[in-house]
Amino acid sequence: MLQRFLDPAVLHGINGLDLVAKTVVDGFVAGLHRSPDFGFSLEFAEYRAYSPGDDLRHVDWNLFARTERCYLKRYRGETNSQMTLLLDASNSMKFSSHAVTKMDYARYMAASLFYLSLHNQRDPAGLIVFDDEVRNYVRPSTRQGQLHRLLAGLEQAEPAARTDFGKPLQHFQEFLKRRGIVLVISDFYEQPETIVKAIEPLRFHGSEVVLFHILDPKEIYPEMKGPSILVDLETDQRLEVIPDYVKTEYRAKMDNHLQQMKERAQSAGLGYHLLTTDKPLDRALTEYLSLRRSSIAGGR
């Protein structure tokens, strides 16, 4: 059952890339992520002159014997990047115009990321499922069986209730005390300023926050051949709509919403990516990871 989240085709596309965290997180477990901080590891970094109070264990006695000066030996530390994924499980995620609902797409993507993080990078990964409250929380860890716990959490995340970013925010703060990568997957049917305002505090801990905006292609370019009665999946409210409106005003409003989301997120230092459910999953992730790597390289 869990294998459906580990589509080999998807993983194949991701395997070729190194996940390089943008932010260095504390930790001493060996990995592939280079930390900008210095720690105590095997790879030499530099010498520093001894100053009173330094630990004498780190003095390079060989150098002292040759030069009679005390230097401390410093090493380049390698660390892990804790990844926490926030998954929106509101009713609106049930929508689909084809075989894959937005929720399915989000699950596939989350599962792929979990697998990549735990299996390849040995990074701790955690999951928070929310709608108007926190529905499920899987603590970030690299313990054995963590991947199965995460995937089981994804399985249990059935869409219910409506989205509310305000209420579960305080809980996010409790759970996310360590720095790391925070990924938010949602269709973001809310005002952009409300969303950014609710998520922005997550960055204050030093975490890198990225928003994955999942939409169905028919939500961006809807088709309507005749007047129809529309039902809101979250509120159950009904509204009769004519095709002319959908072709003109709806498009304009949706474009404006997407533009606002992008701008507000970037201005708040949040990563933002719009993904539609008709795009191949590996392609979407590859696109994102490439962007991340290029941005890391640019930052050095």
């Binding site: 609106s92 995620m93 929508f95 937005k102 269709d187 049917y189 169905d216 939500e219 088709e223 051949k225 005749g226 007047p227 129809s228 009665i229 529309l230 039902v231 809101d232 999946l233 979250e234 509120t235 409210q237 009904r238 509204l239 009769e240 709509v241 004519i242 002319d244 409106y245 959908v246 005003e249 709806y250 409003k253 949706m254 919403h257």
Partner: protein
Amino acid sequence: MGFLAPWFLAGALAVGLPVFVHLLRKQTTVPRPVSSLMFFEQGTQSSTRHRRLRYLLLFTLRTLTVLLLALAFARPYFRHKTVLASDKLLLVAVDDSYSMNAKAGGDAGTKLDEAKREALQTLSHKSVGQKAQVIELGGQMKLLTQPVEEGDQLRAAVDGITPGDGHATFGELGRGMRAMAETVHTPMELDLFSDMQESNMPGNFADMVMPGNVQLVLHRVGAEKATPNWTVESVQAPGQLVDTKKARVIAVIAGHATPAASRTASLVVNGNVVATKKVDVPADGRATVVFEGLDVPYGESRCAVRVGSGEGAADAFPSDDASWFAVKRADPERVLFVHQATDTRSPLYFGAALAAAAQAEFVLQPITPEQSSDIDPTKYAFVVLSDVPSVPAILENTLIRNVQVGGSVLVAAGMAESHREHIPVYDGNVQDGHFYAHGLADAAGFATVGEADGSHPAMKDANGWEGTKFFYAAAVPLDHDAGKARVVARLGDGTPLLIDRQMGEGHVLLFASGFDNLTNDLPLNPAFVAFVDQTAKYLSGEERVSGARVVDSYVQLRNPVNEASGDSAASKATVDVVGPDGKRPLSLKEAAAAQSFQLEHAGFYQIHFANGRNALIAVNPDPRESDLATVPDDVLKLWSGSAGTGAATAGESASEQADNSVSGLWWWFMLMLAITALAESAVASGYLGTQREAA
């Protein structure tokens, strides 16, 4: 315009269905879920107008579909007055019955020659592009060509018509045309070239009425007034002859439309005139001539009675002046009569009856079962087992084999057989014996014949059987005989009295009583002589081949094969038929399988049957063909006027009816229906597509 099936118009009521769907049924829209309504606004202003317009178009198309379907099934038509000559199928029917061999008068040759000349003239006046078909009307109606335009093919077909010996009937022509009109709906013109013989008229005028789209044009060939004709109407002569001095040949000389005249009747044997007699034939009447003694050589002889011109008027139809018959002279055939030593009455009565009948053709040879072991039954005409409880096994097996290949056995199951269940040769058992003398079944002490099948050769003269008293009859069950045994006579209580059972090519006739006068008084009855005579002829096979036949009659070549038992070994033997012209009309395949054969020509047929017997069969034309009286003009006018709507509207001219043809419109409606259905599918698929998307 009208409708051929107006009841289908009731189907137009189905229009109510689209009316209900579009106008009466409340329109419902399936709600369509969306993630959020935050970017939508309500709008209803212009939607219903578009929807109604499209629904109105769909409603119109659906209503039209239903109406066109109902109209197409009602088969609309319209009458139009103009029919092109090339649309009319020309049918040229030439009568080639036996009477057409008569002289037409003058130097024109026979009537058939004149008919063919006129038919060719009619074909030459056929318009270009018009199709025609040639029909030969003899004993049967034959289509000589398909409907074709090529004149050469049609003329060749007319030229190829040869004089026939059959008897034509206009009823056959009427039936054929009615059958043809079921498949050909275009107007047809039937040109009939015939001598319009009165004897060709069927018993019922309705049989010869033509269908509505046939215009009948009659062409009389020969004189309208009947020409005098003398003919030998019938000849009565023995088929098999033993004593030539006792034989008699009785001929009937008939005159049709003739004055009283003196004619000469000659008896011809194998081409030689052996006797001549003068006979006075009254005006338009008949006279009988009797020839005493028929001196023919041993074997089969081809004989004829011929009527000569003698003195007086000439004969217009010399071809029918002779009537042929075949006679076979042979020594008396022996009949093996197996009886018990104690039974002396049976051979006495049976032998006396056999001697009295059949012109002494058979000689009885009575023996007891003990003497019969080394008897060869093939040397006998047939075998009689008279109330013998058992026969030697060797004889029974020999008899069964003989029956399988065409021999015959007559079994009498008298009281002696009641002690034993098994009946020799006959594949059956005696279930019980009915002793009527004891008054158990009948208060009178005897039983009488309840029913008799007069069509069976052995019971042709069953008139004397009514008074016969039966005191005993063996009850033979028929359950396992279904399909093979035929009950020829039953007693009053239903007990089968005479059963004919086919075994292979031969027959076993079971008489469920005795030939003595103890079990019944039949031997004392005059009907016994006729019964023995006819039974002897039937079992010896003489009945099947004796006497003269009429043209177009059938002769049975082999017994029908019983598919269930498949016991006819002899049915696989080939037969051989040699026609009057010396040719063999049957192919090898037909000779191996044909059960019967139609005698199509007059003359002598030499036939070798499947059971090994040979016969010479004389075939004469139907005597009705000799009466050259023609159908009166008023009757012919009535007939030709009856084409169209029958005799009731005979006053209408045939041409007017033919021109008033009918054209069906249903396929135009079907075409429009197909177009409407396609349009409806296109419009409806758009609508349904929206519905599906919404769902």
